[in-house]
Symmetry: none
Subunit: 264 residues, 2 copies
DNA sequence: ATCACTTGTTCCGATTATCGGAACTGCGTT
DNA sequence: AACGCAGTTCCGATAATCGGAACAAGTGAT
C-alpha cells in the first residue's frame, strides 16, 4: 500500500489511534495488536508514545487503552478552523427556519462522510446524528452530492475503495448503479436519499464547491417520511438547499455555473 | 523529554499535529519546520503521512497545511468514550493530597447539581455526600460555579425555575442576590459556599469549561469550618482548585481565558 | 494452595526505516 | 532573464524501529 516515501512508524501509530476510535469504549493491548496486525512490542511502544502525548489514556488497573483528551482539544481546533462552518451557518439557519427539519453539513473523509455542523429540528422524532459522526458516503445524499462533484480521478479511486454492503434494500449496491446516480445528481445539482440509509428516512442534499469547482462539503435537510413526502422534499426543500449551497460556493470563490435542471 | 523507549517518529508527527492545532488557521511547511525544530525533509515526510491518513489537509494552491476531518471524527469519539471523570481524576487526586479535604465533581441537571466523582478526606468528621446525590444548585458553590459560566439564556431559564427556599440563614434568597453573586464568581473564577447549605460547612469551587467556553461541570473542595477558616480556603485552596479546573478545561478544548482576579 | 495460562512489559541484536544535506522544480519578483 | 524562495525528490550514513525471547503480574481452574 505505501506507494511513496511515507513515515511508516507514524502511520502505524495513527492507525492505532483510528482503530481505537472505531472501537466501542476501550481496548486491550492484545486486541489492538490483532487489529493492527503487528507485533505486541511495536504496539506497546507506539501506545506508550501516544500515552505520553495524551492521545491515549491507559486505565491504571485494567491496563486497557482509551482515547485521550488531546483528541478532544485537537478535534475542537479542527472544527473551529473550518471556516466553512462560519460561512455556512447563516444559510443553514435559514434552511431550518424554512423547513423546521434538521439541517446538516458534512465533509468527505476517505469513503465516509463526517458531520461538521448541525441544526436540529424542533420535533421530538428526529435524526440522532452528532457532530464528528461518520457514515458510509454512498448511502447518504450528502456523500453522493460530494462524490458527484469530485474530480474524476478521485472518484475512481473512491469507487474502488467503497465497501458495498447494502444497508437497506434501497442502498446502491454496484459501482455502475452509483455512477449512474452520480450522473443524475450532476445534472440536477441535487442528491436525494430515499430510505437508502434507514427505512422511513429521507433527505435532500446539495454540494458546496470551492474555487476549483469541486465539492468540499455538502448541506442537507433530513426528515422522516412521517412529516413530508419525497415529492414535497423535491418541490419545497431541494430548490432552497441548492440555492443556499450555490451562494456559499460563490462566497468560497466558485464560478462553476449551476446545473441546468435543478428541478429534475 | 523522557528517556524511556518511545517511538520518536510517531512523537514528531503527533507534535506537528499539536503545533498545527495551536496555530491560528493554517501553516506553511516552513513555519512548521521552524516551530518543530526539525529538517524540512523530515517535516515534509511526516506531513505527507498525516495527509495520507486525513489528519491534515493541504491547500491545492497555497500548499499550506490545516487540520483534517479525521481529527473531528476521533475527537467526537473521544468525547463519547472518555467521561469527564477520567480526565479530572488525576487533578482531583492532587487537590486532595494538597488539602486532605474532600474533593467533589458535579454536573448540573435542571436546577440541581449531581455528584459524579468524589475523593474523601481522611478525617472522621466529613461530608456525607455520595455519587449520584443531588443538591439545589443555588445553595452550593459547585452549582454556582456552573451557573456563572452557563449561556445567558440557559441561566435565565434556570433562575425562573429555582425553588428559593432558604436552607440556612446564609442561603441566597432572591434572583437578584443570585445574579449579583454569579457576576462576582464570573470575575474571580471561584465560587464560595459560606454555610449556605449547612451551618459550619464551607467549600470553594471552580467551573470546568468545554470547547464552547461554557461550564460542563465543576470541582470543589469541601470542609468543616472546624479545620480551616474561610480565609484559609480562599488563600490556600481557591488558587489550586482554579488552576486544576483551568487545566482540565484546556484538555477539553476550552480556549476561554481565565478571569482577571482569581484571588478576589 | 498450586499450577497453568493469559496479558502486559523489558531487553537486546539485526534490520530497516528515518534523517538531513544536496540537488531539482516551479513560481513570483526584481 | 536571473534570482530567490518554498516545496519536493534523491540517496547514503546513521540511528531508530522491530520482533523474538524472556520476565512479571494477574486470573482462573484443578
Amino acid at each position: 500500500m505505501p506507494d511513496r516515501q511515507l513515515a511508516k512508524t507514524l502511520a502505524n501509530g495513527l492507525n492505532l489511534l483510528i482503530l481505537l476510535s472505531r472501537q466501542e469504549g476501550d481496548a486491550s493491548l492484545d486486541e489492538l495488536t490483532k487489529l493492527a496486525g503487528q507485533s505486541k512490542t511495536a504496539c506497546f511502544r507506539l501506545l506508550a508514545t501516544l500515552k505520553e502525548m495524551n492521545f491515549v489514556e491507559q486505565d491504571a488497573q485494567s491496563k486497557r487503552y482509551r482515547l485521550g483528551a488531546q483528541n478532544i482539544s485537537i478535534g475542537a481546533s479542527a472544527l473551529n478552523s473550518l471556516s466553512l462552518r462560519h460561512v455556512a451557518m447563516p444559510f443553514m439557519e435559514k434552511l431550518r427556519a424554512l423547513s423546521d427539519e434538521t439541517v446538516n453539513m458534512s465533509v468527505l473523509e476517505g469513503t465516509d462522510i463526517v458531520f461538521v455542523a448541525r441544526l436540529e429540528a424542533s420535533h421530538i422524532i428526529n435524526t440522532r446524528h452528532r457532530i464528528g459522526e461518520r457514515l458510509p458516503a454512498h448511502c447518504t445524499c450528502q456523500g453522493k452530492a460530494i462524490m458527484a462533484f469530485s474530480p474524476p480521478e478521485k472518484l475512481e479511486r473512491l469507487l474502488g475503495q467503497i465497501n458495498l454492503r447494502a444497508v437497506t434494500e434501497h442502498t446502491l449496491a454496484t459501482p455502475q448503479a452509483i455512477k449512474k446516480e452520480l450522473a443524475l445528481i450532476r445534472r440536477r445539482g441535487i442528491a436525494l436519499n430515499a430510505q437508502e440509509l434507514e427505512k422511513g428516512l429521507c433527505a435532500v442534499a446539495a454540494p458546496i464547491l470551492d474555487y476549483s469547482g469541486y465539492a468540499v462539503a455538502s448541506l442537507n435537510i433530513a426528515f422522516p417520511l412521517l412529516r413530508h413526502s419525497q415529492q414535497e422534499a423535491i418541490e419545497d426543500f431541494a430548490p432552497a438547499v441548492a440555492k443556499a449551497c450555490q451562494e456559499i460556493s460563490r462566497l468560497l470563490g466558485c464560478t462553476r455555473p449551476a446545473p441546468f435542471e435543478p428541478q429534475g
